[in-house]
Symmetry: C2
Subunit: 336 residues, 2 copies
């Protein structure tokens, strides 16, 4: 039915490594407009659905009560790099709810971005839970729990109201009985991650941007979060990050969010489309190239110059330690 | 002909990501004793054939002239972590030939191992070419050039005698007209990397350990290098590294060397076997699990306790930032 989608890593003009992928681009009625591979098989969306997970923060009124502006809302959907600005934002949001770093249950890790981690070490620092790439989402969870009058301890557990609300949003948006019909895992930051088909995940983003088939308030909450991420992309990711590059290429017109293990989700609001993709082997380099190639395809007719910009982003080159170009990435088999 | 070899990354009991692989285990006569996937297709062996590349260091007499002991010979075959001991070793070997850091042409990078890189930053350091994971191999190249009375500048280029000798060794051991019949790339450290089939690469290691089908002096040089790596595995890799764990599990009985983009090569001298494997997508986590699973299979009958040890190493588990087990790696489809 669909062509094999392969992302090649080349060296010296030859293919050195190959990544296989599945992709769903879906409209507001849930119809696939660009589909490759098996998009019915449940995949763990990981951090690519942080917008879904942040919807209750807006819907409950917690975001307004605690004065979340665009930057804070973007941060509540973030997989951030733990830069000093991100750490300060997490501390600030927690303080608004009368909480602090010790209330987080996401764990500590050194910033994933090497430049940021080395700078933290160079200045004698060490990571706290505020540096965890998910501390923005967790600050949002905690603000919501406080606003609702719920216990904050244990907010990462599957049966806590915070996680039950998140699960309900994913189930409704992805049209999937997540957890019952699909696998459940524990994510890096200790919350549950519910597997859902790419078709459903892409459809969820399309429903939010189109407003079709869902409650108006929910659609509005989702659109408010995506607008905040597009307005403040750094807060959602960080310096040098692919999500920022992808969103800054078309300010306000493309939402794109990475997830661990080669997942990417997003939306193109003015085309009324949502997308979700998974690299079989979990490689980030392939996911980043494929999301750019997908956006190139989607914009090719609607805005050819923008299509060209994404086309360029889909073909990064590799350089070695002396700066010599050694190869690059090519996406093969994407329907145009 | 062969079963599909798949390395699965699991989460919550479900398969989250999948890696495909090819594997050749070959005897001294070049016969495949365990073969999966396409082992005739040329792959870039990258750093997994550093033993082949170091053979001229021994054969020319440069290693003896400059007093290379086991630790230095192991380091000449290394993809090391840039720990202080590695950096000192590179400086020492270069000094023996009257050279220094500026003569290296491998380029600078921060140590790949995060703990090592953070410690370097914390102590106010910055990487030099001595920290490059290939600085040991390059120190060997430079010692050989000095010993041979060749210009040292440009020793990384394909037409320099150092690289021509390296190419000849690979061509002979892998029974492949590398460069003519197969792709040539530029490696991370700026030297050429010649693609060869896994069958040929595995056969090369088997020829060295068995002495079959090659010149006795060359076999001796290769065995001396592998014995040095097995005696001093830290010098060839570093603290916490898979190559060290794999070799320390069976001291003096297993040689194993990683290469970029999911390659692993090695030998089991007492069984007279060589092996070479490639993960299609280039993932290190899958290559490390598959080499352990391969060694488990090879030892299962010859030394069941050792087979069990490698079996354990082939199934690492993942933990998140709070220490919760979230999943692991499983090798599927390997013939036993």
């Amino acid at each position: 039915m669909t062509q094999d989608l392969v992302i090649e890593a080349t060296r010296g003009g030859a293919v050195e490594s190959r990544h296989r992928a599945s992709l769903a681009v879906v409209d507001g009625e849930g119809r696939g407009v660009l589909v490759h591979g098996d998009v019915e098989r449940p995949v763990f969306p990981r951090s690519a659905v942080k917008v879904f997970q942040a919807i209750p923060l807006v819907e409950t009124g917690a975001a307004d009560r605690f004065g979340f502006d665009d930057r804070a809302l973007s941060f509540a959907c973030a997989s951030h790099s733990g830069e000093p600005g991100h750490v300060a934002l997490a501390a600030d949001l927690l303080a608004r709810a009368g909480l602090g770093e010790a209330d987080l249950e996401c764990g500590c890790h050194w910033p994933f971005d090497q430049v940021v981690a080395l700078e933290l070490a160079r200045t004698g620092g060490a990571p706290s839970q505020l540096h965890n790439n998910c501390s923005g989402k967790h600050s949002g969870f905690l603000c919501t729990a406080v606003h609702q009058g719920e216990a904050t301890a244990g907010y990462v557990l599957a049966d806590h109201p915070v996680q039950r609300r998140g699960r309900d949003v994913i189930a409704e948006l992805a049209r999937t009985a997540v957890g019952d019909a699909t696998p459940v895992g524990v994510d890096g930051c200790s919350i549950p991650t519910y597997a859902a088909p790419l078709q459903g995940l892409a459809g969820g983003f399309a429903r939010l941007v189109s407003g079709q088939g869902i409650d108006g308030g929910r659609a509005q909450a989702g659109r408010r979060l995506m607008a905040a991420c597009m307005a403040e992309p750094w807060a959602m990711a960080g310096t040098r990050r692919a999500c920022v590059t992808l969103m800054e290429a078309a300010p306000g017109r493309v939402f794109a969010k990475t997830g661990a293990e080669g997942v990417f989700c997003g939306a193109v609001p003015e085309l009324g489309l949502g997308f979700a993709l998974k690299i079989d082997d979990g490689a980030t380099r392939a996911a980043e190239a494929l999301v750019a190639a997908t956006l190139a395809t989607l914009w090719r007719n609607a805005d050819p110059a923008l299509g060209e910009r994404y086309e360029m982003l889909s073909r990064p080159t590799f350089r070695n330690w002396q700066g010599t170009e050694t190869g690059g990435i090519e996406v093969r088999g994407l329907e145009s």
